[in-house]
Symmetry: none
Amino acid sequence: MPSEEPQPAIVLVRPQMGENIGAAARAMWNFGLDRMRIVAPRDGWPNPKADAMASGAGRLLDEAQLCADLPEAIGDSAFVFATTARQRDLTKPVFDPEEAMRLAADKIASGEKVAILFGPERAGLENEDIARANAIISVPVNPAFPSLNLAQCVLLAGYEWQRQRTAAPTPARTVPDVATGAEVEALARHYEERLEEAGFFFPDSKAESMKVHLRNLWSRMPMTRADVRMLHGILRQMVRWKERGG
Amino acid sequence: MPSEEPQPAIVLVRPQMGENIGAAARAMWNFGLDRMRIVAPRDGWPNPKADAMASGAGRLLDEAQLCADLPEAIGDSAFVFATTARQRDLTKPVFDPEEAMRLAADKIASGEKVAILFGPERAGLENEDIARANAIISVPVNPAFPSLNLAQCVLLAGYEWQRQRTAAPTPARTVPDVATGAEVEALARHYEERLEEAGFFFPDSKAESMKVHLRNLWSRMPMTRADVRMLHGILRQMVRWKERGG
């Protein structure tokens, strides 16, 4: 049974080696984190090599939520962090682990669900994954040697989670009715589809980067459910207007 | 050549597996630490398994100082920390990694030499080793699962060293190219006018509160100039689409 204590979900996106998944489970449990989600693991699931490595934290693997894609894994999350090593050209707030986990602790204390994404061992998260996150966590490593492995990256996040959750609680802010990841995803899809029809993504050579920018925009915005409803409404009304004809 | 920057020496006391020594070297260099001392390694020195694991941080092993015993390894040190997992019945100050590295940074800044001891993988440091230290570093791990490995323990010390030595300025939150109030206002007006034409603010009795909500939405969003341009573009394209006719 997962612990009762509210905490961020740790989402391993397309992890490759089972050993690393097991080591990540150990790193989580070292700091009391026990909600793992695994998106499309390369070598299938369950993975005996993960079990062998996880010794003592094997329960986390048994209880891990296997997800077909990233939207499924963050569907319930109101706030998503993406961990990256390289600098990305994406306009999102960038936090170090301490700031990020302080923010996560605040959000969780006020009832929001938080997820933290970790990319595959070699390449890290794709821009498309990061576009679905609200903010970036970047560990201030030695620029001459920035190669943290997956479990180490999870360990540092867990360490800071442990530090921040036990830090003096900041007074609760009232977060009114924050939109979930699934709601933001549906909004992003709605705009993408209609704008595709409307010929917005033009020229073709720029279409992909325009889509990533648009996704980034939605995921970066602190939206309530009412905001999301209004943005859906705007688009539907523009389509109706078109259909009525000039 | 070791880096010029004064820093604590990392002392591995009777380490067992070469792989762990290599992994510890990587963890050190991730955070710019490059002064390793090795006391009586079980499998001799040099160790090809350590070299294989250290990839990218192999220089630290080549330059490591091999010592016959602990007194030799800390002979030049004015202040010695011992890392332990278990509670020890030794009357010494116990610090968490943050406090310890803050103290280390202060001491190093005032010219003192500092060493940090890490014990063998299985048993950790002996009481006799700890007796030679001035203070203890204890990582606040999950009491139900306190098993950090050697390299992870070194990683957390390095992470805190990096944090404390750079403590003064907090890393900048990068939100580049923020839209000005006037730009957001122009965007709000653009949407309000077109949506008015499109019949979005309906029924009349709700029009005013819908407009207020929409204005609130724009002004609450942390938008860049590029975001504002894209949102203008979306609306213009929807109008063009309408004008082309279904």
